[in-house]
């Protein structure tokens, strides 16, 4: 890889924010170097590249760092203009994609993280919140998929897809093992379920998804740590 277009991604393998950038680069066919960060022992480069938040992911393009996953995704799309384009050309459609991306990121991901990291009454309330928001999304994406269920052929992956698939999957087996129930229920939210099914079957997504038992282990690890630190 020539020095004129050097791309480095500082990430962490269980971070969904890191995953969405990794997938974005792969979908665009952009060669990159991946640096796995140990969040208990952050590299000096990470601290230098993201002094404000000290978090992953950070994309470094020709030595210049960019932080915040959605900012990075828009940067990738504006810099490498080949297919797939992550945002539509029409400004109103772009606004709609940004709106739903913001909804998924701020409302859905927040609720899911609360569900993972809490128990008892707080968790129950978070579950309620999460399912309510999923129903809103189910209605809302009908305008994005006006022809009904998305299908896998020629699927043009975009900003909203990348953000959604990095946090949610249609894998009910895992959900039932970790949460004792389905999170993405094909009966309650059929459009979201079929959308996620299409996304997670895309070859690039499939090959970068860890096996089920590892995913379960990730959830349990994050949950245990969160519950432990909330008792401290």
């Amino acid at each position: 890889m020539g020095e004129e277009n050097k791309v480095v991604l500082h990430g962490m393998w269980i971070s969904p924010y890191s995953k969405r950038v990794e997938l974005a680069l792969k979908f665009k066919g952009i060669p990159f170097e991946y640096v796995e960060e140990d969040l208990q022992n952050k590299s000096p480069q990470l601290l230098q590249y993201n002094p404000v938040h000290k978090k992953v992911p950070v994309l470094v393009h020709n030595g210049k760092p960019i932080a915040e996953s959605i900012v990075i995704l828009e940067y990738i799309d504006e810099t490498w203009k080949n297919q797939p384009r992550f945002l539509p050309q029409d400004p109103y459609k772009r606004a709609k994609v940004r709106f739903w991306t913001s909804f998924v990121q701020q409302q859905l991901c927040e609720s899911l993280l609360t569900v993972i990291k809490t128990d008892g009454e707080v968790q129950q309330k978070a579950f309620g919140n999460l399912f309510e928001k999923l129903e809103v999304l189910e209605e809302g994406i009908k305008e994005i998929f006006p022809d009904g269920n998305p299908c896998i052929g020629n699927y043009n992956i975009g900003l909203l897809d990348l953000v959604m698939l990095s946090m949610f999957s249609p894998n009910n087996k895992i959900q039932e093992e970790v949460f004792g129930m389905k999170i993405i229920d094909p009966e309650k939210t059929p459009l979201i379920f079929s959308w996620l099914t299409v996304l997670h079957q895309l070859p690039l997504v499939k090959e970068s998804t860890p096996p089920d038992d590892k995913v379960v282990a990730i959830f349990k690890f994050v949950r245990e740590n969160a519950l432990k630190s909330s008792l401290a």
Binding site: E68, V71, I72, Y75, Y92, A95, S102
Partner: protein, 221 residues
């Protein structure tokens, strides 16, 4: 019939961002003041999910969330652009806009809370100001946008105008000019920009309203 309508509330910094953007680009619009304690059917129709202002309506199509609205405005009317043209500079701008969006709610928390909650808000607010001072305003530029204001300057407007009023309402002192010299210079410059100067909520009116709101909020707790 106006092609562009803006639904807003006169004290919201998020609404002013949109007003400044429209005025900078010379876009005529109809402004509709919303009573947030009694939301209009129009607002509920245009923003059913969040039921919040601002909402921009362009040719009957609603756009919600001020940062999304500003990007839409910038894309439809590219004159006097609100973001840099270079993708890297745009990414840096978007980083700071996100930072402003995530952290500036701590400013309104200052007057909406008391006791421990308010102490927490003071701490969050201070951290935000320190970050801007240390990392955001380096490079000696007059504005985040260079010689002219851009979307980033607008995103930090609550620091420039609202913070001072809210400090008085809340009885706390977070911003001190000598502690934040770069930020102080930026605030003075920002408030002198004609579009900004001529389009800010009346300070005394806002002071009175927020004092009243604080009384009601603390009484209900």
């Amino acid at each position: 019939m106006a092609v562009v309508k803006l639904l807003g509330a006169w004290t919201s910094p998020y609404v002013y961002r949109v007003i400044w953007a429209l005025k900078l680009k010379g876009i005529p619009y109809e402004y509709i003041e919303e009573d947030l304690s009694n939301k209009s059917p129009l607002l509920l129709q245009y923003n059913p999910i969040h039921k919040k202002i601002p909402v921009l309506v362009h040719d009957g199509k609603p756009i919600c969330e001020s940062t999304i609205i500003l990007q839409y405005i910038d894309e439809i009317w590219p004159q006097n652009s609100l973001l840099p043209t270079d993708p890297y500079d745009r990414a840096v701008a978007r980083f700071w806009i996100k930072f402003a969006d995530d952290k500036s709610p701590s400013i309104s928390k200052l007057y909406r809370t008391g006791g421990e909650e308010q102490e927490k808000a003071v701490k969050e607010c201070l951290e935000m100001l320190e970050t801007i001072e240390e990392h955001g305003l380096i490079g000696g530029k007059k504005f985040f946008g260079g010689d002219k204001i851009n979307m980033v300057d607008m995103a930090f407007s609550s620091v420039a105008h609202w913070l001072e009023v809210i400090q008085e309402v809340a009885g706390v002192k977070v911003f001190e000019a000598q502690k934040f010299p770069r930020l102080n210079t930026w605030i003075q410059n920002f408030k002198q920009v004609p579009i900004i100067k001529e389009n800010l909520p009346d300070r005394d009116k806002m002071l009175a309203l927020l004092k009243h709101r604080r009384k009601m909020l603390l009484a209900s707790k």
